[in-house]
Symmetry: D2
Subunit: 433 residues, 4 copies
């Protein structure tokens, strides 16, 4: 039976104590926005419908090659992972679905897992295949690649795992498969760069052939890591070319941490929208590389500008525009549940602020080449403190006005530690050495 999560009385009590201040803040903000001709109720509506999926692999403590420092109470299997995800959704009401990783999350009984999720109020988002580790003893090794391996037998094995993901996803109610591979080379000469890409497309076509008609296939590009000289799908241009070659069900997925330094991410997002190939996002934040930090923790203005492109596309009614949103973070020094709560709210904040942009005024500035006022128009939205809107949306949706305070006060982590004695992995050692 699914663990009940945080008692609703706890949430209600906390909300009760915070309700009066929120009502006042909300009314005052509403009046200020009304002076600018903005309807706060419309913004709350946007906030209420915002949703981002949770990664099953994000509820355990993450780590680096130098080590992992687990905390007590980590989920030990996919059922417990869902319990933690459910708490995030219970408090934020913004994370109604979970994305699974296979074989990490391979369920013995998919129907039972689906019932477990439904009991927790959760659905299943995109499936993910892991062909970057040798997880199954006796199998062919992925040391030198998977979907692009020079050996057809390894490619077949990797294709088969992806097909299994599709089948599992059908049983669970998922509608998409995300493919990220670690394939690439560490040294000049190691790979025939064009052949590797050809094998990539061929393998993807074999997978796409097994896709149900209402499914999408997302390709995830990455500049480097684990391959440190060349990767097979290294940037959005390659991802776009591959997705085009594979067909209309194939789209590009943007992980915010997978790009070269200085690159303009919102511009890439705009390009993929324009080309009809934006599949979705892996949200996180970073300062140096694929740091997988909490969304909005390092570059909140960039996050807002990405949402500005997304909301503009939605507002303009771009045909076929329906990207999938997923958090993909590594919580190395925080409680994963807390980071997921805060990150979901950060995304919602960016989304709501983007709806606040006065697009008519912005269009006028653009038409006049008034660069300064165009920036100010965008900044007007960014500088607005929309926390009352986010809190009100949570309140109306049945979540917590202050979800972080509630999860701490409720002692969820401590109760997990009591219920889940055996850690996921006893050792905290790293990969190096």
């Amino acid at each position: 039976m699914a663990q009940a999560g945080i008692a609703s009385e706890t949430i209600e009590a906390a909300n009760g104590a915070a309700a009066r201040d929120l009502a006042r803040d909300y009314a005052e903000l509403g009046a200020r926005l009304a002076r600018r001709g903005v309807d706060i109720e419309a913004l709350v509506g946007h906030a209420q419908r915002f949703a981002v999926a949770l990664p099953s692999w994000g509820v355990g403590t993450g780590g680096t090659r130098f080590g992992r420092f687990p905390q007590p109470g980590e989920p030990r299997d996919v059922f417990e992972k869902l319990e933690d995800c459910a708490v995030v959704h219970q408090l934020t009401r913004a994370t109604p679905a979970v994305s699974l990783h296979v074989p990490w999350d391979r369920p013995a009984d998919p129907a039972a897992l689906r019932r477990h999720a439904e009991a927790l109020g959760l659905a299943f988002d995109a499936m993910n295949s892991n062909t970057f580790e040798d997880h199954t003893p006796g199998q062919l090794s992925y040391k030198f690649g998977s979907l692009t391996h020079v050996d057809a037998a390894v490619r077949e094995q990797a294709i088969a795992l992806n097909v299994e993901c599709i089948e599992l996803g059908r049983a669970l109610g998922s509608k998409a498969l995300t493919v990220w591979i670690g394939d690439g080379g560490n040294f000049p000469g190691q790979l025939h760069l064009r052949r590797a890409f050809e094998r990539y497309v061929d393998s993807l076509r074999a997978i796409a052939a097994k896709l149900p008609a209402d499914w999408l296939l997302f390709l995830e590009h990455k500049l480097c890591e684990p391959a440190f000289y060349s990767t097979v799908n290294q940037d959005w241009g390659t991802s776009y070319a591959a997705a085009t070659a594979v067909g209309p069900q194939c789209r590009c997925l943007v992980d915010l941490g997978h790009h070269a330094p200085n690159v303009n991410l919102e511009l890439i997002v705009a390009r993929l929208i324009q080309l009809g190939k934006l599949g979705g996002f892996h949200f996180n934040d970073s300062k140096y590389g694929d740091d997988d930090l909490d969304a909005g923790s390092i570059k909140p203005f960039q996050l807002f500008l990405i949402f500005h492109e997304l909301v503009s596309a939605e507002a303009e009614g771009v045909a076929g525009f329906a990207p999938a949103y997923l958090l993909d973070q590594s919580h190395n020094v925080t409680d994963p549940i807390e980071s997921l709560i805060v990150s979901a709210v950060e995304l919602q904040r960016g989304f709501v602020k983007a709806w606040l942009v006065d697009r008519a005024k912005l269009a006028e500035c653009q038409a006049k080449n008034d660069a300064l006022l165009a920036l100010q128009t965008v900044k007007e939205a960014f500088e607005t403190d929309v926390r009352p809107i986010l809190a009100e949306a949570r309140r109306r949706n049945g979540g917590a006005i202050d979800p972080l305070a509630v999860v701490r006060a409720a002692g969820w982590r401590a109760s997990c530690a009591a219920r889940r004695p055996a850690a996921r992995r006893a050792t905290a050692g790293g990969i190096v050495g």
Copy 2:
């Protein structure tokens, strides 16, 4: 009448003095290569046919926004620019064509310019249009863009200049037009990112409609500068998407300095080859950004690896593979003629070393995932000192065994200073302040 260049007796005398050592070095290298099963004569043949075009704008001293420090004897017009280019070709025999920039190089009498070039032994490579400056008083300003400007009249003006370039090029014997624009935004909000790209493609289509059937249209992408927040054609992915939208005569041109930090350039080259859209190169080198330093001066191994991709494509007989090569450098602290000589030789060196790669052995390493031996196979070629091959190719082609020594000994720059009293631009001030 075209200035005669360096006296052939000067070259012959220098070659005569160097011939014996070269013969010995060449013979010894040939024997060493023969032990590895390599025919040095084939390599000399590759070296002899290597050609890269010279940029007319590269024979004057370059500069930065902080200033320009001209030297005596700079060419004052396109006729004198060709004279300097001719000297580079006379000595290296590797630079038989020149690329012009309009309106900088707009000839009053194209036929006369063509005769001048032919007298100097030069042909004309791709034409280049300048819509990043307000060069013509009274015209509409390019301050806020050219081919992507919000105002259709500005776009028409920019299109017209490109069409003029095509017409001039036809008169001169060129077969390609290269389009680089400075269009973009300095601030978030300034541009509607998708609309700007749509205008870009529309303008390019208007230009492409005027292309002769045997011409190509090259699109040059750039991460930043002069626009510092977003550029309209910011990376190879956008360039590829635009070139695909414009049509089969449209290709992507890679300037080595126009990418984000850390990006794998040879991988981008491989992708464009594979997609049938590699139009050509602007060769230079850089450490930080679009530094426009001399080719091979900072990252010679990267240059070699790029040529490895190019030579592999040629050796494999990739259909339609025929990229255009152009030097595009800014010679701020050197004599431009000397830098062009040295840079042409650097490219030739990369080309010849790439032909030295044992591709059969490399393919075997790749098939076995022998990453270490694959790298060693590539390095075997890179570490080989091919200077005797390059010198012999020049000698056989009628150039100088040691072109740098000859141009210095011949006193070309001093004679220019005497013949060309008025500098191109008297002031050496910068743009800032």
Copy 3:
């Protein structure tokens, strides 16, 4: 006689129209902050005392090596530059001093210039020497360096210009000299890297020997540009070593755009504070390199975090902590006056938000390694919309509640265009080509 600036009636009328809304917003924000135990009056006090100097070179339109696109009404000399600066200060009340660049701003009569400034309500901040251009015909060239040139005569000439700056600054009431040089190399081998640094320190010592006792000497480091392989003062570590070698009056100045990609700027600021060598800032923003964009336009959270370090040092009473603040931007596509107004406000915003950080709570989080709550504590301040505080500070200081609206409504630029017919530089051509 100094041009009067914008009529005070214009400002008062605009303020009158905006006063009621501001009063309400201010009261409401005050009440919200009071609930968090924060005194809004203290924050207004911080805002009122915030000051940043204006660069004389920032009131003209900037450009890149690809061109400059001037607008009508640009100041033609240092007197007119001060007039424009005065308008920025009149409206923001946050920019009471101007920084001059010599020889660009060399006054024939320093006393007259000082009277002009005083009449405009302006003082003089740090002096700047330009030894990166050959501005004076007949002088020795700075093509290959200035303070670090291999030729002692060139170094002497550059030292003399710096000493002249000190003398001019004394006459004007300045108290500091900022030294930025373009010295460096474009190619490996060009400079003896250690010798160049030794000459740098020797020249600086000669300049420092002429400093009045109450002056400071600021060293400005830069990763690259105009030198594209190596610069003599390339990073804060070199700047710190040089400043230490020169002596106690010598400090390091941080230009936000002069660092390698991905570098943590607030961490560098913290280090220099700690080492007692933080001299001051050149504020701007950037996405790619030394883009010199408007402060806070690209990375506002980074700007806030820098101020968080500065305010923490001030709040902790770090001995000798008194950095100088200067805007240093290139306004290529905006009206420079508008950009300076907006940028001064952005800095003030970062400063006030930094004072909003609950440092006691933050210290507690740090003591407990509560990374998540530490970030939330910092974000609590950043997310707060402090615009009413900034507007109220301007109102109390006699400035404009909405300075951008006022400068536009007042038609300052149009009146300049009428008064200043001859542009600073007629041509809009670039350096390239």
Copy 4:
């Protein structure tokens, strides 16, 4: 008893077969160099004395957070690690010492380990302390730092481990301790940036107080990873400031992969030489971050330029100049022994080529600001194929003319696989998920 390594007959037989070609190549190169006034015997002498230490942790297969793919025959303990190191030295004669990591390599009986090493012909280089993992059950956790932890007890524990390293090192004959810590923060606000640095210096002083008089203490800086927002010793400037604060026995160690993108490494090396604080190197190569690829595999010209700075300092007789050289690589897709062999040779190649630079001619170019010829002078050395010199040095020193061929032919890895049945770590799983 120490495993005997590769049979000397095997080496001698291989050398015998290769001797004649080497003699000819060597003679021909000697003649060519003699024409340039260079004595090949001097260069062989430099090659023969070149030495770089091996990392004990480098003989096992490395990995990333996404997984590790071990190969058969990996060493299972420090004794077997030394056996593999001995083979590298046996063949290259350039790696006479090994650097240990504690607690990974903590010997139960240091004297026995020393005897084992001596029997293998190996000595011990710098000791390394690991305080970035929780290796010892029951100890205080390093999750939130070690030498800079907010809790004094954790700092004491970390200091104690470093002191233990010194004691072990004394028993083994080492003369240095290298300190790299993973300390830092993942989020703004997590650390008080100045306090963390103060704790770092305090802890280092406590360690330095235990140093024998003839020992050195090396500090290793790193931009990021495992901390992804701020690190305590983030760059060479901080490292230099810390080393200065700790005292004269404390120096800075440069790992080539620990810097921001685009940074000029040879310039940093020159600065540390100049400031008397260059302690040594961790050699490797990288394209993106701390990729830990094989030395010289990505940027061989950069490696050469670093050696150019080192050799210049040696040739000029800079006082106190004696840096320590260590390889520090992660061999994820190659046989570690093969990578170490190739990498040692790459370093030796850079060293010998740097000695080939005509420093008198270079000084002349620098004095004349002849940037072009300065670069050519440096390139003259780089382009020279010095493989006969390296091979001859190995031959004279008793190593293998072609060490890679010998280690493959000798079947060392296969024999290890037979002797060492149990892998170091059975699982190949990663840290993520």
